[in-house]
């Protein structure tokens, strides 16, 4: 009877305690979605491949850790991290304030800039600003001039954007009063209207545009203006980690810094995205 009640007490304690696995990171389990090309996807033989798979292998080597990759559907990818099914998420997950309330992140390893796209016959087809890339988190005078240029160039035009995205947030914040914003439920519908001339330009992530331009569907369109990151666009894509495992997040950050410094991430990004989507050294 005593034994029984002991077991019962432990059960109850276990329910409320939350598990506690010591921070030995020689083995790390990393979850990915496996259905988000080219970040992480599955080839037709069933093997997980993609930018993040290559990157994970590289980072694990730098951390001297043995890594196991787990495929997990996007729904439930954060709850399963919390439940201890794996230790880290590398699944094209943007670092946002909302997610930061429940998990922590390593530094970002990739940030795909947002770009405007116009028809190549458009009068705006050669639009350029003084800077090629700008980070909106901290705006310097040159970037300020570029934003003024963008506002002047697109004044009175109609801009298409996918609804409920960071891109829409940017348009409302920076261009809201000077342009007409049209929102679309899918990016594909937006592409059709851009080709039909119903919108003058469209704003979306470069990791979407580049592969599109390589296929037939992207004929007659081109990217204009600077690549924009930071600010309303969030702080890039990072490794998602349980809040109590800050030490693991720091290990990833250190390994990512090394991989950015020696050009590994740029190389992998060019291989998978067709352009350098790597984060800048901090």
């Amino acid at each position: 009877m005593k034994k029984l009640s002991l077991i019962f007490m432990t059960l109850v304690a276990a329910l409320f305690a939350g598990q506690s696995i010591a921070g030995d990171w020689s083995k790390i389990r990393i979850a990915t979605e496996g259905a988000y090309a080219p970040w992480n996807f599955t080839d037709s033989s069933g093997k997980l491949v993609g930018f993040e798979l290559d990157l994970a292998a590289d980072l694990c080597k730098r951390m001297n850790a043995q890594c196991e990759i787990v495929a997990q559907a996007w729904d439930g990818i954060i709850p399963a991290l919390q439940a201890g099914k794996y230790d880290a998420i590398m699944a094209g997950m943007s670092i946002t304030d909302k997610r930061k309330k429940v998990i922590t992140f390593s530094r970002d390893y990739a940030a795909t800039p947002a770009r405007f796209v116009v028809s190549d016959k458009s009068p705006m087809a050669n639009f350029k600003t003084g800077v090629e890339d700008m980070n909106l988190t901290v705006i310097d005078p040159k970037e300020k001039a570029a934003i003024t240029d963008i506002v002047a160039e697109f004044k009175g035009k109609t801009i298409g954007v996918q609804t409920a995205t960071t891109h829409e947030n940017f348009l409302r914040e920076y261009l809201g009063e000077n342009v007409t914003i049209r929102t679309y439920d899918t990016q594909e519908n937006l592409d059709l209207d851009l080709q039909a001339g119903r919108v003058d330009t469209a704003l979306a992530s470069m990791s979407y545009w580049v592969p599109l331009f390589e296929s037939d569907k992207g004929k007659g369109m081109k990217m204009v203006g600077p690549g924009m990151t930071g600010g309303p666009f969030g702080s890039g894509v990072g490794v998602g980690i349980r809040q109590k495992d800050q030490d693991l997040a720091d290990m990833f950050t250190k390994a990512i810094n090394e991989a950015i410094a020696d050009g590994t991430i740029s190389k992998l990004a060019i291989k998978w995205f067709g352009f350098d989507a790597s984060s800048k050294p901090s």
């Binding site: 077991i7 432990t10 059960l11 304690a13 276990a14 329910l15 305690a17 939350g18 598990q19 506690s20 696995i21 010591a22 389990r29 979605e33 496996g34 259905a35 988000y36 090309a37 996807f41 599955t42 080839d43 037709s44 033989s45 069933g46 787990v70 495929a71 997990q72 559907a73 729904d75 439930g76 709850p79 399963a80 919390q82 439940a83 201890g84 099914k85």
Partner: protein, 236 residues
């Protein structure tokens, strides 16, 4: 639509989709059998003369039928693993990573929710057998076992089968929810294939066809079973 995507082998996705269909079938059958066992158990509790047992069974069917299946899955999958690990480290001092096998987790989740519906189906079928027949069987001196096998079971089977067929179809479709725990069944295969090839229409259409195939084949089985169970009844 690009049909080269639907070939077998390393170049196409047909083998992945088919494996997903087999997994769906395996989970559905195991969960259903588990659900029938659970259902018979709780139906007998519900019909018991002890009020406490009736309350226990009422609690189960009310809760499980009243909350979404997805929530049951989250509770069993996420809660179950954490509980198991805490027991392991609390009682046995084992600090490694343990997890109940995915298949068993999926089977328990879907089976528990199917079981709640099956409980009600069986309870209804038992109550549909006229009380007079049991009394008559008692009057001619049949033993409890004989009354159960000769009077109750054949009629309960007949009354319950249409309802059980319904629950089976629900179970088959509910298995699509367990893709959240990482078990690769039809929906997860379709999601992976469409995300990797950017051809969602092809693969979700195929998933729909596979579900329709599975449900219509099994539906025929249930119709046959119903005909067999009703062979002693004349509908005029």
């Amino acid at each position: 639509m690009d049909f080269s995507l639907l070939t077998f082998g390393d170049g196409g996705w047909a083998d992945e989709m088919l494996r997903g269909a087999l997994m769906t079938m395996a989970v559905a059958v195991c969960s259903y059998l588990f659900g029938i066992i659970v259902g018979i158990l709780f139906a007998s509790l519900k019909l018991s003369q002890f009020i406490v047992l009736r309350y226990v069974a009422d609690f189960y069917t009310t809760v499980v039928r009243g909350i979404p299946e997805l929530l049951v899955i989250y509770l069993v999958f996420f809660g179950g693993g954490a509980l198991l690990r805490n027991i392991a480290s609390g009682i046995f001092g084992y600090d490694g990573y343990i997890d109940p096998p995915l298949f068993v987790t999926g089977m328990v989740c879907i089976g528990l929710s199917a079981g709640a519906y099956i409980t009600e189906v069986i309870r209804g079928a038992v109550l549909a057998v006229p009380k007079g027949q049991i009394e008559a069987a008692k009057a001619v001196g049949m033993s409890t076992g004989k009354r159960f096998w000769r009077i109750l079971v054949p009629q309960v089977a007949r009354y319950a089968l249409p309802g059980l067929g319904n629950v089976w179809q629900l179970t088959l479709k509910e298995t699509s929810l367990i893709s959240v725990i990482g078990l690769v069944e039809i929906m997860r295969s379709a999601a992976v294939a469409s995300g990797s090839t950017k051809e969602p229409f092809t693969f979700y259409l195929l998933a729909g066809i596979l579900y329709l195939g599975l449900t219509s084949i099994s539906n025929r089985g249930f119709l046959r079973a119903e005909a067999w169970a009703s062979k002693g009844v004349r509908y005029s």
